[in-house]
Amino acid sequence: MKYFWIQLLLIAGSLSMALVFIRTWGQAKNRAWKRIAFSVFVVVNVYAVLRPTDVTWLAHKLGVGRGTDLVLYVMVLAMGFLTLNTFLRFRSLEKKITDLARTVALNEGARHNDERLGKPEEGADSGSAKVKA
């Protein structure tokens, strides 16, 4: 039972944050919360550096041995979310690049193939066979 509270805190914290984070990804509210979290993170960091004994006190309350251990655990959490955040950001960028590249490819392709192979020979409306990207 010695580690109960810190375990509860870390596990519940990561699970609920992951859930909220994934659900609200891309919404403006989510962005705002990320910014608030970052500001709090910076302030807490400065405080922890200035008064390390307070961190140790909090660590004892939570059942962790040392203040540095508590800081380490929080770092692991933060690291995890940073990774997830980056991953989701890349995914959304990839989708945008795909749409862009596809539009370019289809427009260019339609033009070049008309020149190279001649327009499709199916009567008057063949000219309207434009690819809508």
Partner: protein, 250 residues
């Protein structure tokens, strides 16, 4: 994923092949061939396929070799991704291009490395023409043809057996690149997985749709070239990861 019941039709062999097929017979079929650095073989594969299927669009997926020049020597339409996006993205681009062509009714996805055979596509198109299905998938396992390397056979069969969507459709082979889609199916399909996870994505889409899906046995030619170019089994890890994360950024 909404659970709807899809009555599977396993259209097995015995598809009558009309002898002496003329070119115009397949005027309404478009072959979509994604190609990435296939300069060595692509022109041969395309010209061979064009003996049967006059309409082919090759999507050059940002190749760094001379694939595009080789494709340009053939009678196939060429669409070039300005950057490499992945096979799934290339398929989606090719389908979109083919859908915009006048008279196109059937859409086949075909590999660039020469492992697929046009005779199989003919069989599959026949199934669609008889209106027995909206989508026909090639399967390496309906008939044991002994050409699939055994380790690949074990992994692919396991993948089909554990995949809930593949099971629902009673598929025997969930990762075959040879497919023929009706216009209705091709218009609904939207591949968002750019990489190799698109095969699972397509099966998932089919399971969730009310399209009729059939499997037809096909022969895959595992040549030295296609073996070297093909997917390694370890890439399965990437596919599982991509699929797990796919809904997250909608």
């Amino acid at each position: 994923m909404p659970a709807r019941d899809v009555p599977p039709i396993n259209a097995h062999a015995n598809v009558p092949l009309s002898a002496g097929a003329t070119v115009s017979q397949y005027d309404d079929v478009w072959l979509v061939i994604p190609a990435y650095n296939e300069g060595q073989v692509i022109a041969g594969v395309v010209e061979d396929a064009r003996k049967t299927f006059p309409h082919i669009v090759v999507v050059d997926d940002g190749s760094t070799d001379d694939s595009a020049e080789h494709i340009a020597t053939t009678g196939a339409h060429l669409v070039r991704h300005p950057v490499n996006l992945g096979q799934g993205a290339a398929l989606q681009t090719g389908l979109k291009y083919a859908l915009a062509q006048p008279g196109a009714r059937y859409f086949a996805t075909f590999d660039a490395d020469g492992q697929h055979q046009t005779a199989d596509v003919e069989k599959m198109v026949e199934v669609l023409r008889r209106d027995e299905a909206d989508v026909v998938l090639g399967s390496r396992f309906i008939e044991q043809n002994g050409q699939v390397p055994w380790i690949k056979r074990v992994v692919l069969r396991t993948a089909a057996a554990v995949s809930p969507t593949a099971r629902k459709l009673k598929l025997t082979d969930a990762h075959n690149g040879l497919r023929v889609l009706s216009r209705k199916a091709a218009e609904q399909l939207n591949i968002t997985m750019n990489g190799m996870a698109h095969a699972s994505e397509i099966v998932g889409f089919l399971a969730a749709s009310d399209l009729r899906v059939a499997e037809v046995p096909v022969d895959i030619l595992y040549t030295e070239y296609s073996r070297a170019k093909g997917q390694s089994l370890i890439n399965g890890v990437n596919i599982v990861f991509d699929i797990t994360m796919r809904e997250r950024d909608r």
